[in-house]
Amino acid sequence: MMDRNRDWRRFQPRLRREALGELALAVAVVLFGALVLYETTQIRVTPAYSKVGPRVIPYIVGTGLVLVGLWLTIQALVGKSAAPSTESEDVDVTLPTDWVTVGGIAVALVVYLLLIERAGFVVASAVLYVGAAFAMGSRRLVRDIPVGVALAVVVYLVFTRGLDLRLPAGVFEGLD
């Protein structure tokens, strides 16, 4: 009996945070639905299409989102929340969110966005590869940099030469 009480006390703060998260999700969904409904009123309708025009389905989708949001609100308020998060092979769901790693990957992605048209696909991809691996805890740059560069070059050649895709050459412009 004692054990159970102690467990419960330790469990409660997490539970309350979870319920708050659920509530935030539910409210966000209602707002999203409201945005869809508002934007639907902004769609221009020509009289010829008044019956089943471009607004009908958006109204249904917006209403659906609001209703689902309200449903989730009720579920959150009565404390009925589903399993906390999705299982996955490489994920330990009991861990708290590691924002440093997530932030590191976000930075690598933004750098990629900035580089791809300026420095080209190969440079941007290699930087993204090494940066993301570093963010996720890999510290062996001697291995990661050659792997990243090789991957970027091979992918570039296979897709531009083999499959006729156009990718920005960037700093290697005119090297063909």
Partner: protein, 505 residues
């Protein structure tokens, strides 16, 4: 005779050296991504959609089909040796398969899974060969109202039967539908939800959605809670071949699994999870060795694996004959058809028999290739699991960027990709299934098209969906699909309550 003649023509197409090459590429890629965590066949096909710009349709679809079948084979290898299934369809295999591996019969588990997959895949493809022309005849009777009802049925089953809760499934579906609305409305030419951004006029590409939700979302999710210390891979020991006893215990579950999997897969309700669970409980009932269940019974691997692959073949029936995808991978294959300007459905069988039958013939070939690749080489594939996770996910991001940027050579797509990646992360955090959103994005515009066309024909009379008998029948199935899980859940809860009362007394 018709189907056989068509199939012979299909083999003519599929056996060309070029198409054999793409089939091999497909099954190799498919097995690899099936084994690897973090990526599945749906994502792989989405990432490869840009090849549709330069590849012949038939070659592209032969490769995609190889990825689709290969993913199933690879997934079973992971679940047997690692006990963490890569796909929801392999959950059941992991139960008995991993226990078998721990008992030293891992090789036999892999063999029964691979041979069972081959048997089921081949019988399933035979089923597809003969069922597809029949379905085409039926489909020719469908009008816009029926097609709309069918899409609603697909939405319902994908939403209601997967994931942990109906409300979350619906949230995912409606969010996907909303994303699908972005862009120019094809019927009226009005722009919708573009927020004045010209690049959004063409809509948000399916590739961006799938890659954002699957690849970037999964990478963020893994990064946020990376499991430290790798999972233990059970080494493959013992005789590589199944003993006579194991053969004897396997062949009936293979056939039973096929018998369960193919019909369920080919219903426009689909999904590979349900048949695998059904097959597992069936084998548990029928086995002569009930004491082995829970300790590594071979029937518990053979049956569900066969069911899994047979239903994968079944899923292609509604995809090819009705243009109706019932899984995330099938939905992305539909997107590939749309990219080529092809419209899967009864007309495709008339207009492009080379493509359809070449694809079907390639499935037979792919199955043989997969058997050869997986039976002796399972140990090689497992080495893929040794790739350090930071390198694996960094590679996934590189391919995500490639697939998305190359769509339009536009950084706007990358911004959308990152936003959707964040959404994918939150969806995993809140346990919201991703598949309904992807299906919603792809099928939403299709549904709207049929909906409005049906109403134009009926001159705005909304009762058209319930006054046409076929459409009404399909909508009744929708109601059934919504109510059946609820009823099952209530029954289970009541049984649990009774059970607890018994235990308490």
């Amino acid at each position: 005779m018709g189907a056989l003649g068509d199939l012979a023509g299909g083999f003519g197409t599929a056996l060309s050296p070029e198409n054999l090459f793409w089939a091999l590429v497909g099954v190799l890629l498919g097995t690899a991504v099936g084994v690897l965590p973090g990526i599945g066949p749906a994502l792989t096909v989405a990432l490869l959609l840009p090849v549709t710009y330069s590849l012949e349709p038939v070659s592209a679809f032969i490769m995609f089909a190889g990825i689709y079948y290969g993913g199933m084979y690879g997934g079973s290898t992971t679940s047997i040796l690692l006990n963490t299934p890569g796909e929801s369809a392999s959950i059941v295999t992991a139960i008995e398969g991993n226990l078998m591996a721990k008992r030293g019969r891992g090789a036999a588990a892999l063999a029964t899974a691979a041979i069972g997959s081959f048997v089921a895949g081949t019988i399933g493809t035979l089923g597809l060969t003969f069922l597809a022309p029949v379905m085409v005849e039926v489909a020719l009777k469908f009008g816009a109202a029926e097609y709309f009802a069918l899409v609603v049925l697909a939405f319902t089953t994908i939403t209601a039967l997967l994931g942990s809760s109906l409300s979350r499934g619906l949230l995912s579906l409606f969010a996907g539908l909303a994303v699908g609305l972005v862009g120019i409305d094809t019927l009226s030419g009005q722009s919708r939800f573009t927020f004045g951004i010209p690049q959004l006029l063409d809509g948000i590409d399916v590739v961006t959605v799938a890659v954002g939700l699957f690849a970037v979302g999964e990478t963020f999710w893994v990064a946020s809670r990376l499991r430290h210390g790798a999972e233990e891979v059970v080494p493959v020991r013992g005789s590589v071949w199944m003993t006579r006893e194991e053969w004897r215990r396997s062949w009936k579950p293979w056939l039973r699994g096929t018998a369960v999997g193919f019909p369920i897969g080919s219903l426009p309700a689909g999904g590979a999870e349900i048949p695998t669970f059904l097959s597992y409980s069936m084998e548990k009932q029928l086995t002569k060795h009930p004491e082995e269940f829970g300790k590594g019974a071979i029937e518990g691997v053979a049956g569900p694996e066969a069911a899994n692959n047979a239903s994968a073949a079944g899923v292609l029936v509604p995809l090819l004959t009705l243009g109706l995808p019932t899984s995330a991978t099938a939905a992305i294959m539909l997107a590939a058809f749309q990219r080529y300007g092809l419209d899967p459905g009864p007309l495709l069988f008339d207009q492009d028999p080379d493509l359809v039958w070449g694809l079907i013939a390639s499935l037979y070939i792919g199955n043989v290739m997969l058997l050869v690749l997986n039976l002796p080489l399972a140990g090689v594939w497992v080495r893929l699991l040794a790739i350090p996770r930071p390198l694996l996910y960094a590679g996934i991001l590189v391919f995500a960027g490639l697939g998305t940027y190359s769509l339009n050579n536009s950084t706007v797509d990358l911004v959308v990709l990152y936003i959707l990646g964040g959404v994918g992360f939150l969806m995993r955090r809140f346990d919201i299934p991703v598949a309904p959103a992807v299906v919603g994005v792809i099928l939403g515009p299709v549904a709207e098209d049929h909906f409005r066309r049906a109403l134009q024909i009926s001159q705005g009379d909304y009762t058209v969906f319930v006054t046409r008998p076929l459409s009404l029948a399909i909508l009744l199935c929708v109601a059934l699909a919504l109510l059946a899980p609820l009823a099952l859940r209530t029954m289970r809860r009541r049984r649990e309550r009774v059970g607890r009362r018994v235990a308490a007394s």
